[in-house]
Each structure stands twice: as C-alpha cells, then as structure tokens.
Symmetry: C2
Subunit: 108 residues, 2 copies
C-alpha cells in the first residue's frame, strides 16, 4: 500500500483513521450479536425482563456446551450478566450496554 501520493487522501484530513478505538469497540459489540444464536439469546432475555438460567439451552437447537460458549461471549461483551443462584445461573440483560449499542448504531 501507500503508492498514491500524487493526490489528496480522503477529505482534507491527512489520514489518521488507523486503529480507531471507537471502531474497535463498536465492532466488538456488533460481533457479540453477529450470530443467530446470540441474537436469539439476547431477545429472549429482553423478552422476559427477569433473568433466566439454563432454560436457554432448551430454547436453542444447540448442545449445552455450545450455548454456554455463546453465553460467555455475550457476558464478555457486557451485553448480559450472569449471577449464580444456588446450582443455577441466572442471566439477564445489561440494559446500559444494550442502550450503548443502540446509541452507537443510531448515531451511525
């Protein structure tokens, strides 16, 4: 790359689009819901404001370990939270993060 030096780059600003931290966090958040199973999980948790646990597994045509993996990804993204309740774990939506995602997309 870097060969077209005879003309101005984008707009009037030099270049400086490299490694945009905003784009990175945006992409991460978007990636968290960039899978049908994760979209369904998020919607499920939104649908019932209250938290639920491994019934999520019963709602998806996936193995328990696979669902657990998706839940981990969603948890790491911050979109959902898990809280241990005895031997079970209740998950619920993190509305702050969800609103943040909504704002990021809306402000596109």
């Amino acid at each position: 790359m870097a060969k077209r030096l005879t003309q101005k780059p984008c707009d009037s600003t030099p270049v400086q689009l490299h490694a945009d931290p905003t784009a990175e966090s945006f992409a991460k958040l978007a990636w968290a819901i960039a899978h049908p199973a994760r979209v369904q999980i998020v919607r499920l948790l939104i649908g019932r404001e209250a938290c639920i646990c491994g019934e999520i597994v019963d709602c998806l045509p996936l193995a328990q370990s696979t669902v657990s993996q998706h839940l981990k990804i969603l948890k790491e993204s911050g979109l959902i939270q898990g809280e241990v309740d005895g031997p079970k774990v209740c998950y619920c939506i993190n509305h702050e993060k969800l609103d943040q995602l909504k704002a990021l997309v809306a402000d596109l």
Copy 2:
C-alpha cells in the same frame, strides 16, 4: 441435548426458537459491521454523503486487496453499493439497508 423434560421450557411457548429467520438476517447484518475496518468504511461513506472510490484504501492501514475484500462483504450485506465510473468505482451507503439495521437494533 433434550433431557430436561420434567419442566416447562422458556416462557409458555413450546420451544420453536430454532432457525429463526429474523435472527439470521439480523446476525448477518450485524456481522457485516463486526470488524473495525468495516465500521470505519461505513462511517467514512456516511460522512461524505457522496460516493468515493479507492481513496478508502488510503484511509485504512490495510492492503488494497484486503480493503477490496471488506468492501465486497459490505456490498453483499447490502449496506453499501458500488457503481463503476470509468476505471474507478464509487461506493456509497445504501440508506435503506442502514435504516433497516438501525430499526432492527432499536427494536431490540
């Protein structure tokens, strides 16, 4: 899977969350912007309402072929459109698709 038959599944609806076509298209659209480079490209195209061409390459710290790949992904998602203009190609945002994405996220 399918072992917990002694208790009701999620909510009162049987199960039927399998292969939700809505979730699939949502996930596809989200995946299209689930990469920092693609977020930057989309923002760039939104910033300048008009279309631009391979200057995008100069705005990203990526090889031309890599950028072309990302553009292809975005084009296939419908979020952007490319129109040939002589030896160059001008890309622009597909506002309909973008609005669709916004609506999908807002209605979460």
